[in-house]
């Protein structure tokens, strides 16, 4: 299969996903409401934390919201990506997957198309968080350029998470099983990461886990962009680690889709 049919396949799978997304008004509304709830509820609940000078120092910010917005951005990317593979399960059940599999496009382009749509949807959601955060007084010290860079990080992280999800959905046949596996994986990941809480304040064994947690590597550079500035060492090392994860996962997904059975 040549590159051209791969690109076409990817584009049209992407096109379908985006059509479906824009047709589902409730889904779009919820994707806006969810981060609002996070920010307003969690953010306000925790603002008193920074009244205490000690916690303010551990968090590294005067306002918990400033600490939290990058975390919520990455968590939104996480969930948008990690539940995205379910469309494979529905397509299989509705018989649509057979159509995609018997079309003259490489099978990997099915995964790529769905992933691209998830990346774009994620970036849309994250932009809303950036705007909302802005309204609530959270300013990125790196300005609009920093927010753009943060969006790219969120897209990349969503790509990683959707790759995992697509890989699982290639084998898992029911949505219930997929949800069970994903919940089992993500809850510990979130709470051992620096998304909502600084790792510096965690027990040392959790700090160790956190060091192998992909969320940590996504949140750190975004938070740097929001709080400290263009710390290139931090940003590039985060980007490097995420890119390596992304590429390894592409290899895994490629072989799963091209060589294995998807039905």
């Amino acid at each position: 299969m040549d590159l051209r049919s791969g690109l076409r396949g990817t584009y049209f799978v992407f096109w379908r996903e985006m059509k479906r997304f824009t047709n589902q008004r409730l889904r779009i509304m919820m994707s806006v409401v969810q981060p609002v709830v996070w920010l307003v509820l969690m953010g306000n609940m925790m603002t008193r934390l920074t009244d205490n000078p000690f916690t303010a120092e551990v968090l590294g910010v005067d306002n918990y919201l400033v600490f939290m917005v990058p975390g919520v951005m990455i968590m939104t990317s996480l969930f948008a990506g990690v539940y995205g593979g379910i469309s494979i399960i529905w397509d299989r059940r509705l018989g649509f997957l057979v159509k995609l599999l018997s079309a003259p496009i490489p099978r990997y382009s099915i995964a790529l198309g769905k992933m691209s749509a998830l990346i774009l949807q994620t970036m849309f959601q994250v932009s809303i968080i950036a705007v909302l955060g802005g309204l609530m007084g959270v300013r990125f010290v790196t300005g609009v350029g920093g927010i753009m860079a943060a969006l790219l990080f969120c897209g990349l992280f969503s790509a990683i998470m959707s790759s995992i999800s697509l890989f699982l959905s290639a084998s898992v046949k029911t949505p219930e099983t997929l949800f069970a596996i994903i919940n089992f994986l993500t809850m510990p990941l979130v709470f051992t990461s620096n998304a909502l809480f600084p790792t510096g304040a965690m027990p040392s064994w959790i700090q160790l886990i956190s060091r192998f947690n992909p969320i940590t590597y996504a949140v750190a550079p975004v938070r740097t962009l929001a709080v400290s500035g263009w710390d290139m060492e931090m940003i590039l090392s985060g980007a490097g680690i995420l890119l390596i994860m992304f590429l390894v996962l592409q290899g895994v997904v490629y072989f799963r889709f091209e060589r294995g059975s998807l039905l």
Binding site: L94, V98, S102, P104
Partner: protein, 313 residues
């Protein structure tokens, strides 16, 4: 298979129909042997085979959340058509399946028959050399089945499409197919036109009675004359009815009347029974019930497509 014919593939559950179609549609690699489609080996030239083939699976492979037009647009894109051609072909197939007026509506507002027609249109849009219709009227009511048959016949007449059709409904195979093949346990049991397959079982039976008004001896002479005819195999009497076994099919009845015209007698009643394709099918595959080896996922899939064919969301 010959070009421009509708070819029926019949067989009980587990006969190998689905496996055959999966191999021909490149969804499954053959474990041995080779298959060619338009001269392309299905295991090697996967892309050429896919471009030459339209596959309408028994599940509704259309996206209910998109409009009919979007579904076709997507299909045309997946088969590498350029924008201008996409537009033209989309119009063409919409006309062909009679969905032009509803093209801009979402598929979940369609009836079952309309969904199936859209599904078939998707299989046609890239003008494949051959179209696979896998149980096209499964789960549809009689009216909708006739509607689908109408459009399938239209494909044969207007587009001269070569079609491979599988079905469990013998009347469907009889109405639509020029030739049919019966397979069982991976083996070809019979292949011919429906008419000839029925003839092989022996022709029909003409059941008749004379009125009592005839003069004595005349009915006997008439029966004697009938027995001398080529098309008559045997005549027997049972419960006042005569049973005439013939080795021909529809042609037998006119011949029967021509012979009787020469005798001064009247018929009280006459009917003709033909062997049906059901009889042919059972003759070749036996009466034994088959164990289905269907996966749970396939069951879930067919259940959802049944609901959608009944026009539910």
């Amino acid at each position: 298979m010959e070009e421009q014919e509708i070819f029926g593939l019949l067989g009980p559950n587990g006969a190998g129909k689905t496996t055959l179609i999966m191999v021909l549609t490149t969804l499954l690699k053959p474990t041995g042997g080779s298959a060619y489609l338009n001269g392309y080996n299905v295991a090697k030239c996967t892309n050429q085979v896919r471009m030459n083939l339209g596959y309408v699976s028994q599940d509704l492979a259309i996206d209910d959340e998109l409009t009919g037009l979007d579904n076709l647009w997507l299909q045309a894109g997946l088969y590498h058509m350029d924008r201008s051609i996409r537009k033209k072909r989309t119009d063409e197939v919409l006309e062909l399946v009679g969905l032009r007026d509803r093209a801009a509506d979402r598929v979940d507002t369609y009836s079952g028959g309309m969904r199936k027609r859209l599904d078939i249109a998707c299989g046609l849009i890239h003008r494949p050399g051959i179209l696979f219709l896998d149980e096209p009227t499964l789960g549809l009511d009689i009216q909708t089945r006739h509607e689908i048959w109408h459009y399938i016949n239209r494909l044969r007449e207007e587009v001269k499409m070569t079609i491979l059709l599988t079905t469990h409904y013998m009347d469907e195979a009889d109405t639509l197919c020029k030739r049919i093949a019966i397979i069982d346990r991976g083996e070809m049991k019979a292949i011919d036109t429906p008419a000839r397959l029925k003839q092989e079982l022996g022709g029909g039976v003409i059941i008749f009675q004379f009125t009592d008004a005839a003069e004595p001896g005349v009915p006997e002479k008439a029966l004697e004359a009938l027995r001398g005819q080529d098309f008559v195999r045997e005549i027997s009497k049972n419960d006042g009815d005569f049973y005439l076994l013939t080795n021909e099919s529809e042609e037998a009845l006119p011949k029967f009347f021509t012979v009787l015209e020469g005798f001064p007698l009247r018929l009280k009643k006459v009917t003709m029974k033909m062997p049906t394709l059901d009889d042919v099918f059972l003759f070749h595959t036996g009466e034994q019930l088959r164990e289905g080896t269907i996966s749970r996922e396939a069951i879930a899939r067919s259940r959802s497509s049944m609901q959608r064919l009944r026009g539910q969301r």
